[in-house]
């Protein structure tokens, strides 16, 4: 009695089909697809449903969690698109991506290459480099909260080398708050990507570099001329990964460190979605911005995919 154990199959149905089943099973693959149904349902309720709901809510007038809901049509989108706050958030997100992603990718490659050459103590280095991938957003934010504090390490180091003029209230200053967020993005993303590159480069036989050295290629040349083309297939993947992470998950850093301020200096798109929903209780606006963020992410992903197509 095989089929009685399949969840979702009624027992009576099972008995009637019992006579024929064993034979057909021997000929074809067993009909086990039903076993995927619980997972599919779960996925639909908690992932697909909510994603679809974003689009619906973006069309509703919903000025607070407990307020009466009305239909707004495209009013929310009109409100979002004519809001200067939205555009400054777009500006911030674009700057964030344009700075963080390239710095991360180039830095990660150089770091990954360095690890793959197995310098002294590279085992320890590997653990350190991988750490940001292991720790949570709130832990990262708390570490940097201490670093950027008015009397924290960074200011101490600056005055230590006689650069008193450069000390700042980093997170509370309009000109530096968002820079701090971007710095954390880079710190958080560089190590993981470097590990990825290092793993790939460790497969390159030593003799390749030796041959290049004989041909007179310097260190820099070996790094970019030989090692880089080998990891090219990862570059597209990592650019896409970091693009999505930076775009979507940096709301957590903003929330934990600057709350979008001072003023709106560090409000980016993903934080705007959070802020409008949970701090200002305007669900319609929040989800309209959310849909635009989603579309932005999708377009970015397609562009990146296309740009790196030759390397796949």
């Amino acid at each position: 009695m095989a089929t009685t154990t399949i969840p979702g199959t009624p027992a009576s149905h099972d008995l009637s089909g019992d006579a024929k089943r064993p034979r057909s099973r021997a000929q074809r693959a067993p009909r086990t697809t039903v076993m995927a149904v619980p997972a599919l349902l779960w996925y639909a309720v908690f992932m697909i449903g909510p994603i679809g709901a974003i689009f619906v809510i973006s069309l509703l007038r919903w000025p607070g969690m407990l307020a009466r809901v009305g239909f707004a049509g495209l009013d929310n989108y009109r409100a979002v698109l004519s809001d200067s706050l939205f555009w400054s958030a777009v500006h911030n997100s674009v700057v964030q991506l344009a700075v963080a992603v390239p710095v991360m990718i180039v830095g990660a490659f150089m770091l990954g290459y360095h690890i793959s050459t197995r310098p002294r103590g590279y085992q320890v280095l590997r653990v350190i480099v991988f750490t940001p991938a292991l720790i949570s957003a709130s832990a990262k934010a708390m570490i940097f909260y201490g670093l950027f504090a008015p009397r924290g390490m960074i200011n101490h180091l600056l005055s230590g080398v006689g650069l008193d003029g450069l000390t700042h209230t980093w997170l509370a200053d309009t000109s530096t708050a968002f820079g701090c967020i971007v710095a954390i993005d880079v710190w958080a993303g560089i190590g993981y990507t470097a590990t990825l590159y290092a793993a790939r480069l460790s497969a390159v036989p030593e003799s390749v570099y030796e041959a290049a050295e004989l041909d007179g290629a310097g260190h820099w040349r070996r790094m970019w001329g030989i090692a880089f083309p080998m990891v090219k297939d990862y570059v597209g993947v990592t650019v896409m990964l970091q693009f999505l992470w930076t775009l979507f998950t940096s709301a957590q850093n903003v929330l934990l460190l600057t709350q979008g301020g001072p003023g709106n200096a560090s409000t980016n798109l993903s934080f705007l979605v959070y802020q409008k929903a949970f701090l200002q209780s305007d669900l319609g606006y929040s989800q309209a911005a959310g849909v635009l963020l989603f579309v932005f992410g999708l377009i970015g992903m397609l562009v990146i995919r296309r740009a790196f197509r030759q390397s796949y």
Partner: protein, 256 residues
């Protein structure tokens, strides 16, 4: 550059504010665990760790209970429906979980599970289902068909085959899914913050630690000690599973 913040965190957790301000980088003068004790009692990190543990372990159980039968089914079924279901899961890689924060919050309220751990335990497994199903399906496909047929001849049912035949053969896949899910669940912050809220009896450790900041004067030593506490389980796991953990994360990145 990468190391400095981590070193700073570690030494700060043994120092007082004035020591941190005066000499941030010098090693601590004494290895007293006073700051850890204060962190635990100030933010009730004992309760919070327990909550995190409950959420993490329960979610892991749920995700495996859902993903294992599903991936077995998808690996062995040849039909059109199965292909469609597999495609649906692999598209899940493209969904950034952050995007659905607000609707998920509303769903929790609808189900009357708002401000409880329970909803998070139901929700978190869904976020890692795409990876779990796609990865395990690939592992299940490597199990030879003949082994299954032999078991069926002996009268074993699908569930028996899954548990007795497939499970032992896909242990590496289960381990990979387990590691990645463990990291996601333990480190989850934003959803836990919004869905569980500030209740000390329910909140997870990631939500509890940032409350050690104070708008007037934060004790950075206590904050650092609390942060170190959140890192410990992850590092313990990493110490045991270094190779597998890196392999898992590299593999999952390339899947996207």
């Amino acid at each position: 550059m990468l190391l400095l913040p981590l070193y700073y965190l570690l030494v700060s957790s043994f120092k007082t504010n004035s020591q941190i301000f005066a000499s941030p980088l010098s090693p601590p003068t004494s290895l007293s665990f006073g700051k850890f004790a204060s962190a635990v009692s100030d933010a009730r990190l004992d309760l919070a760790s327990l909550n995190s543990l409950i959420v993490t372990v329960s979610s892991l159980v749920v995700v495996l209970l859902l993903a294992l039968p599903a991936s077995y089914a998808l690996a062995r079924a040849g039909g059109r429906a199965a292909a469609l279901i597999e495609r649906a899961f692999s598209l899940g890689f493209l969904i950034p979980t952050f995007a659905a924060l607000v609707p998920t919050f509303l769903l929790a309220a609808q189900l009357d599970l708002f401000h409880t751990r329970t909803f998070v335990i139901l929700f978190l497994p869904a976020t890692s289902l795409p990876l779990a199903v796609v990865l395990l399906t690939q592992f299940m496909r490597t199990v030879p068909q003949e082994v299954e047929e032999a078991a069926r001849m002996d009268g074993a049912g699908s569930l028996t085959i899954l548990v007795r035949v497939y499970l032992p053969m896909v242990v590496p896949g289960v381990a990979t899914v387990g590691i990645l899910s463990f990291l996601t669940y333990w480190n989850e912050y934003l959803y836990s913050l919004v869905l569980i809220g500030p209740d000390q009896a329910q909140r997870t450790i990631q939500v509890a630690v940032p409350t050690l900041r104070s708008p007037l004067e934060t004790d950075f030593g206590i904050l650092a000690a609390g942060t170190v506490v959140t890192l410990l389980p992850v590092y313990v796991a990493y110490a045991f599973l270094q190779r597998r953990m890196e392999g898992a994360m590299i593999g999952s990145a390339v899947k996207i």
